[in-house]
Amino acid sequence: MHDWKELVRVRLTPLPLEAARREEIIEELAQQLEEAYSEAVAGGASDSAALHRSLAQFKDWEDLRKAVFHAVEAEEFPIWQQSGILSPRRPAVWIALVLSIALLGLSGFRQALETVSIPFVMVSSNDRSLSARTLGRIERQAVAKGDSRTLAFVALHHPDINEAAGAAEKAIALDPRLTWISARFTQAEGPGFERAPWIARLKTWDPENAFPYLLEAAAVLDKRSHGANGDRRDAVLESTRAIAAAPDFLLSMQKAFAAPTYNSYASQRFELDRAVLGQQKWDRPSLLLLAVTSRPIPNSFAVTSYAKYLVETLGVTAEKAGRTEEAAVQYETAAQFGARMQQSSAGWSERLNGMVIRKISYEHLLPLLRQQGRTGEAAIVESSQTDLQDALESTVREYHLGEASASRAAPLVLISDVLVIVLGVAALGWLGLVTLLYWKENAGGLLNHFASAASVAPPSLLVASLCLYGAYYPYARHIMQFQSENQLVHDLMPFCESLTDPWMVRGFWLTMLLWPTVWCVAIAVLGLITLRWMATRPQNAARHEE
């Protein structure tokens, strides 16, 4: 003989109703089971089959408990009395929450979380870590410690150019080897700020380097553009005649192309930025990228225009006039400058600029050498030309390769990031509510309702967090793992650019997720149809029996 009341009590507990009412309900449901059992036995079913048939009347006791409570009390079932998989009394939801929080311990996950700010930071070129307030605080600490490198970092990144100049003076006074930071001020503008002294200082400190002269040439262009209303910055570069008519620009460029070295201080700057960011515990590759890419670079259009002027105007004119030696010198000057620019530790755009200049020069130098019968030298130039073409193509190809994979990862990271933030807020809300309801059970039916609805947040947060970490994983690195600006730009720039692409969403849906979306929708529809069929199956079966 079965103890029907005990059978129901075990399954229906806890049922937080007044004791007498609860006992009534248990007894009534026990009778329902007993009646069904007796009927099945009378129909010839065995004890176990009859018991099974009787219990099958209530498939989901958790749902029944909630429904009974709601019917009797007209309130949501208390969250701390629930026994479902997402109940706070069960470990699953807590494990999900703890694992989600534990992920914050991973540096890569924290980096992934911060990617949501990258589009704003990249567009505004401003990060809160590099704000005037933060850098002011760092500067005060650096002055107290006599830390020249941190002062140099402040000088390179302070948004107020006069404050930055003050920090630069202090840094250079402490360590004159840091004079290269003057480059930052050669393209800067601000009230009462003068670039000229900084350009002069850099030229004096590093006279063999082409870079200060290129910055000087860029400053000349800027100065000329301010000369008359409506003039464009690059008006000087519009024609050969305009270049020839700008002696101050020509003089700076001549010195730059004649200088024996080319160093845009990329490696010094990269190492300084990386060291200070590491020292400040700002382990964010995107911040390092922002810091590094804000360095001044020569006006590539001006450099290429001058190289073309050298080769296509001066060189070709001399060649046509029969002054072949003079023409060869012009071609070689440009080619050698291009090689210095390409081979320096400069950034991607400068290397590409150097390659383009070499290409322009070789196109004229090679026929001239052949014409002069200098076959040995011509063969060397021809070989260099082939290598150069390969290098150009592989550089461009390599960049686009990174771009393709980044454009796939970036939207996933961004969407997961937004989901993690939204679900994180919901999970915190859930945590607050269940804590409140634990101590104050009668805090309100509405709170119970919200807490029940938000129960899905912690497991969803874990899933979204894992998606975020998985999508960002190829980019998750400690800043010290980046060895050079080139590596940093190559590995991270396409990803950051994809995040800021205004057409990302359209391109993303159309090109990347169209078919996955179609598949997901198809599977979802199939799943819904199956669930629907399963839910209505007993009714169909009943009809067949009839």
């Binding site: 009534e28 329902q32 009974v68 209505t536």
Partner: protein, 112 residues
Amino acid sequence: MAPTSDRELKKGNAELMILALLEHQARHGYEMGKLIAERSEGVVRFHVASLYPLLYRLERRGWVRGEWETAGGRRRRFYRLTPRGRKTLANQRIRWRSFSRAVNRIVEVRYA
């Protein structure tokens, strides 16, 4: 009738069916479940897990009253209509008749 429509109809009229069953005599839950299936010739079947919460809801609203009685040697909880429940039944029945007539006029129309 398609199963989907079955459920929709049942959901919308469950209260009416229960109240109607209790109009002339008190009944217990098991009996009501069986009666609904029998009278509808199996077309409408109440899931037990829905029937009892519905009875408790009607009881909370004061439309039915449950009382323990002994019948056939067994203690059972019998439900009977309260005056308020009887009034509700009358209103719901009027609405149902009006609605079903309107539907019939649409679905049973014959063109000459």
